[in-house]
Symmetry: C2
Subunit: 338 residues, 2 copies
């Protein structure tokens, strides 16, 4: 790649750590973020990789996020763990909640992790994948900035509200999906604007509530949920699960409170973990997971199909050998930030 710097995954991690620590992010917070950024680059999820670093930095510089926040873990009920992120970034809070959530799910069969007072600036697949790696079925969702109109409505209310799901597999990485409730990511509209391309139909409406394929009109107007009113219902469910259920804000409240420094808004995350062997009478983990494999085989037996996570896992095989290609100009920006 011309005008690009090639970094190993270890170099990505070190660079992220250096940039974050240069701005007063504590080593615990910075390690958790750097690990997540490196995982994103490893899986070629470029938009959640090093690309996010300037946003993390801006959120610290603006004074919005507490860079050395130390999350507090509480047991709210036998099967409910809360991690109060204490106004810090999400990764450390998520990391601290993981072990107690796993333990509770195994003990009670199902458990919920309520993560509050965090700034989430990443994908959700890392948290559900980590739980599924431990043999659990996992569901995660979070609110976001208010960009998406409700069904039939005209102006932004919901966030792009992702829902992620993980299912464990024997001897291979879990089946995972992680998808926004909106028809597209915000960033995809911004890329269409930059490149002068019209949007696909169904992505957005303008400020008057009319369907639009003009990226600028879409950014000024509202994004649409995927799949019409059904996607909107999911967005609403996610507002309730990651908002009112766990004592956190809704997307429209998070947006109203945000200082628009280019970083993530305040919010929460709701994660449910279920131990499959506790959900059947005669537990036999291998048989249960083998049964799921028959479904995956039936999907893949049809031409043109793939499993949701396969593209990431294919990239994961490659990047340790090929390294990560970072555009020269962006690499220099990161060096200056460090």
């Amino acid at each position: 790649m011309a005008d690009a710097v090639t970094l190993s995954l270890a170099e990505v991690h070190a660079l992220a750590l250096r940039v974050l620590q240069a701005h007063g992010v504590s080593v615990l917070q910075a390690e958790a973020i750097a690990t997540l950024i490196t995982a994103a680059e490893r899986d070629e999820c470029t938009s959640h990789g090093l690309f996010r670093l300037p946003g993390y930095v801006r959120s610290v510089r603006s004074g919005k996020v507490t860079p050395d926040a130390l999350p507090v873990v509480r047991e709210l009920a036998p099967a409910v763990i809360q991690v109060d992120g204490k106004n810090g970034f999400a990764p450390l809070a998520l990391q601290m909640g993981q072990a107690p959530l796993i333990s509770k799910a195994r003990q009670y069969g199902i458990a919920v992790l309520a993560v509050t007072q965090i700034y989430h600036f990443a994908a959700l697949w890392p948290e559900v994948e980590a739980l599924a790696e431990q043999g659990l079925v996992a569901l995660a969702c979070t609110q976001a900035m208010s960009y998406v109109a409700p069904a039939g409505g005209q102006t932004p209310l919901y966030g792009t509200n992702p829902l992620a799901f993980g299912w464990p597999r024997e001897g291979r990485p879990p089946l995972v999906f992680d998808q926004a409730s909106s028809a597209s990511a915000r960033g995809e509209i911004q890329l269409h604007l930059r490149d002068g391309h019209p949007l696909p139909a169904g992505w957005a409406i303008d400020t008057a509530g009319r369907p639009t394929t003009d990226p600028a009109a879409a950014l000024a107007g509202a994004q649409l949920p995927f799949g019409g009113y059904k996607g909107a219902a999911l967005a609403l469910m996610i507002e309730l699960l990651a908002g009112a259920l766990i004592g956190e804000v809704f997307s429209f409240e998070a947006s109203a409170r945000d200082n628009h420094d280019g970083g993530p808004p305040i919010g929460g995350e709701c994660i449910i973990a279920i131990d499959p062997v506790r959900c059947v009478e005669h537990a036999n983990r291998q048989r249960q997971l083998a049964h799921a494999e028959t479904l995956f085989q039936a999907i893949l037996a049809q031409d043109g199909t793939r499993l949701p996570s396969d593209r990431r896992y294919a990239a994961r095989q490659q990047t340790p050998h090929t390294g990560i290609h970072v555009p020269q100009q962006f690499y220099e920006e990161l060096q200056r930030l460090a």
Copy 2:
């Protein structure tokens, strides 16, 4: 209404009970089904009301369903309840699982109900509404006959796999949605065929995997998930939750095993209940629910919006006064069945 018989809700219930008992359905099973059918008619969900009775009867006549099955309730883990439906219809099994699920959710904060070996022939909103009426947040899903192609695929694999969600409200019925993972219900395609109308785009593909608006070609081919690959991912998640997770079949296995008597296939249902007051540090039920109301108000403040369950609740106000209008011919068919 011309050529229609008007029945009170009590008469609907009595008629359903009489038809079912005339075919050997035990009083416990029949009461649970009749209550569900009456609730559907009350809310003007006609396709899940008396309309379903002939299908229930066919499933008994064909020998597929055990008409006097007595479900067995087991505690599989502290927060996991299983109801083995013993090859009977779903309503009694669901009814028997409800109280222990509520109790577990309140005790542990979250709990799961795994209902197995049932024939589910109704909507899912009754079960999530009942839980939300008790102050719990509820999620339910079930597999179905194999009618829906996976993302990118050509032939039926998934069921229409509904997902239902309920959120409690102070002094009024819960917010509830209940939606198929498919773009349309199977029955809607059958109605288009009957009426000679083309289908909307995006509902189905023909046997060659090409998009079609011909209802006959759609019924021979495959239905499509709503919202493309994202809806398909939900359908896949539901197969896993209501199938492999709880030791039940997938839709394609249920279809293969079915005798196609016109009744429902064998399957399971997975219901998750969460107690919101156990998910916050300083529990205050009124404050938590009032917070959710601010979101509902923000939705309704936009022209053209409504809350997912509002149409059903409006009907519920009317039908006790107006009664239920049953087409004369269908009413006579039911009388013969009784």
